[in-house]
């Protein structure tokens, strides 16, 4: 007798499924409003030289992918309320954009995943999978994902985001703390 509490998906449906799943949790403006309600955001992009990127990578012990870090100074009335940064990291199976909120003294106020993309099977080892993200602006994806999947599987490590946050904190120390 077949069990009734779970359903084995027919192989055809599995093959027909999209090769990757994407979940958009928050747009950049939504994340800004959630992490700093009522504040103003002044764009303050950081263009990093190769030497700066190397120094940041070394100090953080984590790779840097992007030449420009997306940074906003957060203003509330006439004072600085903190910094808002958007960054991305690439894991083995996943591509993640996230936002980091820092208080005016550089302490972490919050981290929100903005977008999470995961790939299936054969695509993982394919360098084209990574290439499709090159030049893509974080948070620019449309909300294409009609059926949002809830996935139970092996635990995926969040180490790449943790490494990314460490890199952003070093970036803050080197380039923003004394502004």
């Amino acid at each position: 007798m077949a069990a009734s509490w779970f359903r084995i998906l027919p192989a055809a449906a599995v093959v027909a499924a999209a090769p990757a799943t994407a979940t958009v949790y928050l747009s950049i403006p939504e994340a800004q409003a959630a992490l700093f309600p009522g504040a103003r955001f002044l764009e303050h992009p950081l263009t990093l030289s190769d030497a700066q990127r190397k120094a940041i990578s070394r100090a953080a012990g984590a790779p840097a992918y992007d030449k420009v870090e997306r940074v906003w100074e957060v203003r509330s009335g006439d004072r600085r309320a903190g910094w808002f940064m958007v960054d991305r990291v690439i894991g083995k199976h996943e591509f993640i954009t996230y936002a980091l909120a820092l208080g005016p003294d550089g302490t972490v106020r919050g981290i929100e995943i903005l977008e999470y993309r995961e790939t299936y099977g054969g695509e993982i080892r394919n360098p084209n999978w990574r290439r499709q993200f090159v030049g893509k602006k974080p948070g620019s994806a449309l909300r294409l994902d009609g059926d949002i999947r809830n996935i139970s599987g092996a635990t995926l490590s969040s180490r790449h985001v943790t490494d990314g946050v460490r890199r952003l904190l070093v970036t803050y120390q080197m380039l923003l703390a004394n502004i």
């Binding site: 928050l26 809830n150 995926l156």
Partner: protein, 269 residues
Amino acid sequence: MRRSRPLLGTYVEITADNSGIVEAGFAAVERIQALMSAHDPKSELSRMNCLAHRQDVEVSAETFAVLERATHWWRSSGGVFDVVAAGERSLAEARIPRHSAQPRPAERDFRTVTLDGRKVQLAGPACLDLGGIAKGYAVDEAVRAMRRCGADRGLVNAGGDLYGFGAEPWSIVVVDPRTRRPVVDVLLHDEALATSACIDGSSAHLPAGADWLSVTVRAPNACDADALTKIVWAAPANVEELLRGAGAHAFGIRPDGRIEEVGRPALAA
């Protein structure tokens, strides 16, 4: 709305009707992480691992509840589920750090642990790792906090240990650990689902054994579902009785890709 944050070493995703409920859920998860993280030298768990072989260590109601449940599963599984043995493995394989004040473990199994009131004693230096059960407990705590906030529906997913509640059932797909392709779907209704799998051939909380690629347990709460995935994986003789006793069911994916319910004949793939 749906939000995701890096917590408990994985991505914790909470779906609920408003941001107050979502924040209450995340706050509960953050509290469990602060109490039971092996990576945080200031957690209650690290305090036990540093001190409980020399003096009684008093712990929070939450940590105590997890230790009691870990005791239950250790005893009833004949020692298959063992957070002390798992801690020693995690330490040996450098998956968790040994903090500066933490002794090398001399004790290798759960017999070293004594619980008394809310106090924990260790017969000798030992390293407990609650990673095989605390994630599920954190999910349950998040759900309790969300319900206290008035939530009548919600889903909490901590890297595959999840609980869904509300009038409508939640649709969950279970993925093949090798390919991340969805292979099974389950409708979840005021219940927990947990999956444990071997990624890249190793997982600290899974005893050695090549019978399964992945094991999924459905149970009334996520704490038990989490622990039971490890027990099903190790397949003690009384596994069906343990599942029944917890009101739980399980299936797994075999190395050849077949999907089988535990305690039932093989199903066609």
